[in-house]
Amino acid sequence: MAERIVSDSGLSETQSRTLRVMLDAIIPADAGRGMPSAGELDLMGYVAEFAPEALDAIRADLDAAEDLAQKRLGIAFGGLSADDAIDLVNTSRATEPRFAQTLITQALGCYYQDDRVVTALGYPAGPPFPQGNTVEKGDLSLLEPVRKMGKIYRG
């Protein structure tokens, strides 16, 4: 299993366990595609840097997930299998779309801006500047029928 580098800043032990299980459940690893799981990335470090205002809502999301697991399944969220965890998340979101909303939003933000993820998707790591991107100029022969239209403006 890949090394976990979750920096648990500001989370209780239970919240940290819930977080790890939740992250691995919502975005699981996909070895075939070279995609890490969301739990392999440093979500809390990301939040501390880019969305500190989200911390309270994330804690609340984790507590709500823990409550729900205890209520519905009688065990801690942190003790759930990935299948049970994602079932719980998805069924809860079906009736309460805001369930774990902040956590999921921040997890996606952390995930889809991570160099490992971006390279696995086939794009260069790092910021857009200065390396930039290559974009095809386009096939101007496709303009042939448009050129044949002749003037289409009035006046």
Binding site: A51, F129, P130, V135, M149, I152
Partner: protein, 534 residues
């Protein structure tokens, strides 16, 4: 000490101001520009950072109400179907704009004669033609000559790449027999005038780190300063003052330390945009102008026009890398631009095709819609959409209506205590019908291009980029605020050069036309210098 009097005082350092200052600088007059915002540093822009997709959200938001920089002013939009987008700093809105640069067309200046709506402008396309061309050279504009939807012109630089995504969309248009063309863009496709060419970074709307986007802090202001124009930042104007002869005397402003100052001037030029200019004029009340400066017609702040705007997103197969390239500019279709009496609306719209969504917004939206599941299947679904999204923007012509207004909010104020503008705006029935048509045609075009999924977002509130009409030009002082060359009918040394003076809105992004008009007005000022105030 002799009084410090500027020959020309320009308020605001955005698109129109930069062009006019450049033109007027060859008079060797003393030109001073007061701008409430700062110089931008391209090294600070989000695209210098890996996390650009979130860093742009607040500090570079298009909404001053979200951005809340100390250089911004708040806007009350509670009674508006559209919220205002702007930027307050050297460069004005061009700091954040997409640089999509299509010109108004000849018919846009003659809507009353041709279609019985709006009003004719006191100038026409051909009056502005040389100024469009001059501005294209000054800004650095890329495009492809020969578009049959606009009088022939040759952009100085080759067009911006339309990409594999553009090819796919073009094939769809061709299947339907519709017009399309690579857009003119104020983005340099090749190295130009000491500036490096576009690197296809993507996020133009949070500032261009490369400086390839022709925002006027890059394209005009450094040159203007070398030509002797004095630009003072963090100077927020509260009021334009007048004497008993109805002549402007200068401006009261707060300097960078918040200290009230007065700058005297022989000529005052307003360039604060279609919201900022009426706000300032309405706040400049006096014995002679109890209803606001230059407002004897009662039209200052009235006839506010945006472009009613809709979005339709499509997903096309084929790993198109559609999210790469300058975000807001690729190609356009003007198949439905001109009035067609067989339709249930008058005038028309542009379909502006822009790049697809970047990975993060794609993921957020896909998860929210349920298209991209959480858990198993996430990666597969995400890859189905990534790079394959393309956005159709429906840019509708708005018609001037006096009920759409900028007024002063009785309570809301900026950090200097200046009353904030309040927007009152609703979409007309004509606009709603036009938008519905546009959404249908965007959908049809995407389907013709082979889209496997089309999401129609309908009218989008957060699209108030184009601010026009609130101090319209015209020959009749009872029906307009400024004359045919931008001079106030009421105050003979007061000029307005921004989008406020537009008589109608066209159905394209306005900045190239705003700047051509600003150059035209500056040229007329120079031609009439001897009797400027007659």
């Amino acid at each position: 000490m002799a009084e410090d009097i500027a020959d020309i005082l320009i308020i605001g350092a955005g698109a129109s101001s930069a062009a006019a200052a450049w033109s007027l600088s060859d008079t060797r007059m003393r030109i001073v520009c007061l701008e409430q915002g700062d110089w931008m540093n391209p090294a600070d822009y989000p695209s210098n950072r890996r996390e650009w997709q979130v860093l742009r959200n607040v500090a570079y938001s298009q909404s001053p109400n979200v951005r809340k920089r100390d250089t911004d002013y708040p806007i009350n939009e509670d009674d508006s179907a559209v919220s205002v987008a702007n930027f307050n700093g050297v460069g004005g809105g061009t700091v954040l704009y997409s640089g999509h640069f299509p010109r108004f067309k000849p018919s846009d200046f003659r809507t009353r004669s041709l279609d019985g709506v709006g009003d004719d402008w006191p100038v026409d396309y051909y009056d502005l033609e040389p100024y469009f061309a001059q501005n294209d050279r000054n800004m650095g504009v890329s495009g492809l000559a020969g578009d049959p939807a606009i009088p022939y012109h040759e952009p100085p630089l080759p067009h911006i790449p339309i990409g594999k995504m553009g090819n796919a969309v073009a094939r769809g248009f061709n299947k339907l027999g519709w017009h399309w063309w690579p857009s003119d863009a104020a983005i340099i496709s090749e190295d130009y005038e000491g500036r490096g060419k576009c690197l296809n970074l993507g996020p133009c709307n949070s500032g261009c780190a490369q400086g390839a986007k022709s925002s006027v802090d890059i394209a005009y202001w450094p040159l203007n300063q070398r030509l002797g124009v004095e630009l003072r930042t963090r100077c927020r104007v509260r009021e334009i003052t007048v004497d008993d002869n109805d002549m402007a005397t200068g401006a009261i402003y707060f300097d960078e330390n918040g200290v009230e100052q007065f700058q005297a001037a022989h000529v005052v030029i307003m360039a604060c945009n279609g919201v900022g200019t009426p706000r300032l004029l309405l706040n400049s009340t006096s014995k002679r102008f109890p209803d606001g400066l230059a407002n004897r017609s009662g039209l200052v702040g009235k006839n506010l026009m945006f472009h009613p705007w809709g979005h339709v997103e499509g997903f096309l197969d084929g790993n198109l890398d559609g999210h790469l390239g300058p975000q807001g500019t690729s190609l356009l279709s003007q198949q439905f631009y001109e009035t067609d009496p067989s339709r249930d609306f008058v005038r028309g719209y542009t379909l502006q095709v822009t790049r697809g969504q970047a990975p993060l917004s794609l993921a957020l939206q896909g998860v929210a819609r349920g298209d991209i599941p959480l858990g198993k299947g996430h990666h597969e679904a995400f890859r189905k959409y990534l790079g394959n999204s393309v956005l159709f923007n429906i840019c509708c012509e708005d018609l001037p209506e006096e009920i759409n207004t900028v007024t002063l909010d009785p309570d809301l104020k900026d950090s200097s205590g200046i009353p904030a503008p309040k927007i009152t705006y609703r979409l007309s029935e004509n606009s709603q019908r036009m938008l519905a048509h546009g959404i249908r045609s965007a959908t049809e075009a995407l389907e013709a291009a082979g889209a496997f999924q089309v999401n129609s977002w309908g009218q989008n509130r957060h699209t108030g980029w184009h601010l026009m009409g609130t101090a319209r030009m015209g020959k009749d002082p009872a029906k307009s605020v400024v004359n045919e060359w931008g001079r106030s009918h009421d105050v003979r040394n007061l000029f307005i050069i921004d989008g406020s003076i537009f008589v109608t809105a066209g159905a394209v992004n306005p900045t190239t036309t705003i700047q051509a008009l600003a150059l035209y007005i500056a040229d007329n000022m120079k031609k009439n210098l001897a009797n400027l105030f007659d």
